[in-house]
Symmetry: C2
Subunit: 231 residues, 2 copies
């Protein structure tokens, strides 16, 4: 079997994350409705997040700071402290939200683990991601957990070399074309896209449908069957 | 030579960090002086940080969120949005502050690297720590960088096994008795304390001065000489 090692993204591949971010966005829009419409608020928040990415990196803490900054800016500092306290509380709730594995994930990991080494490869906040993995009950399936600041081709080359025979013998599975698929293919790995209904605007990209090492799957449950087809 | 691998703490061992946190504390106390005296503010902020540690983990982003929460609480939400915006800006400044290696660190790492493998082992925010290492210009000396959510004896056992012959052939050098010294000794390693003038209140502990594998050094520059004495 050619593929020995399975890299798995975490947020929106193993459990819901963007859904929780969306709920927090909705709450944010509601709280700031006196100052701007939803569309303007979304645009301003996305702009703040993009500007802060090089300082904060990914994750819920940076997102919360960006919400607070946007609230102050959009309202020209006329927002009440009650609203700011609510935004702070909404951010905290995101970080303590129960972690719910997506349907079929537990069984799929069990099947994959029988024949491969599994490595969790995720961006985001180290502390929050480790907390979520612990809360998910999925930790036992993984040989390793790599929380990285950026998912580039070099990141995948490095991780797959350390955990196995290298990128050529690995598959990366995740919901982001930009972070999970394109750089893994560039590194020489296989890549399985498992779309999630919502994609963060900064992660959007077209799937490389014609690539010989790429496959779009409906769910993680379909991954073992695809891997079995790879010569 | 018994010691093959050198683990090094980052903040306040390789570069200033607590000093920058202190400056931010001072700014925070000044901004909130209308609501409470410095001593009360310090106590309330420390309490908020402790309460948030299990949700935020370590690092400047969580600290900034804790400052904002404390400002809202202490003022009973009477703090102005201008002050909150200043706290947000102070947090951001901490994260973009230039990284200044402590005196002698560059030369010490050069000397250590000639005979040992160096691994950076630090808590805190993944993204911010990687940014600081890149900005410090010290990255080239390290065989590995391990950003961990907790520094326990198991953490050191695991890291020193992965990077070398295990904890018995390793030394950990850092400024925190609680995080760098005690758990490394428990893991079976040597441990060198390099005190920094300011210690975060949640890290304070007594040095195990009588322990045969412990040494307190004045500076990282003294580490190569101590390692040369170890049989």
């Amino acid at each position: 079997m050619s593929v020995r090692i399975v890299g798995l993204d975490a947020d929106d591949t193993l459990w819901h994350s963007e859904k929780i971010f969306r709920l927090t966005h909705d709450r944010f829009n509601e709280l700031l409705a006196p100052f701007a419409d939803s569309q303007t608020l979304e645009a301003r928040l996305a702009e703040t997040e993009r500007r802060n990415l090089s300082v904060f990196g990914y994750g819920a803490k940076g997102f919360t700071l960006s919400m607070l900054e946007t609230a102050l800016d959009v309202s020209e500092r006329k927002v009440t402290t009650d609203v700011l306290a609510e935004i702070l509380a909404a951010g905290r709730e995101m970080m303590t939200h129960p972690v719910e594995p997506l349907p079929g994930v537990h069984a799929a990991l069990e099947a994959l683990e029988a024949e491969h080494r599994l490595v969790l490869i995720t961006k985001g906040d180290l502390f929050h991601q480790e907390s979520k993995l612990a809360a998910s009950g999925l930790g036992e399936f993984f040989s390793g957990v790599e929380i990285v600041s950026e998912k580039s081709a070099d990141t995948y080359r490095d991780v797959f070399r350390r955990y196995g025979e290298g990128a050529e013998h690995a598959v990366m599975a995740g919901n982001s074309v930009r972070s999970d698929i394109l750089p893994a293919l560039e590194a020489g790995s296989y890549a399985a896209l498992i779309p999630y209904p919502i994609v963060w605007v900064n992660e959007a990209a077209d799937a490389p449908t014609a690539h010989p090492r790429f496959k779009e799957l409906e769910s993680l449950a379909d991954l073992p069957a695809w891997l079995a087809e790879i010569p």
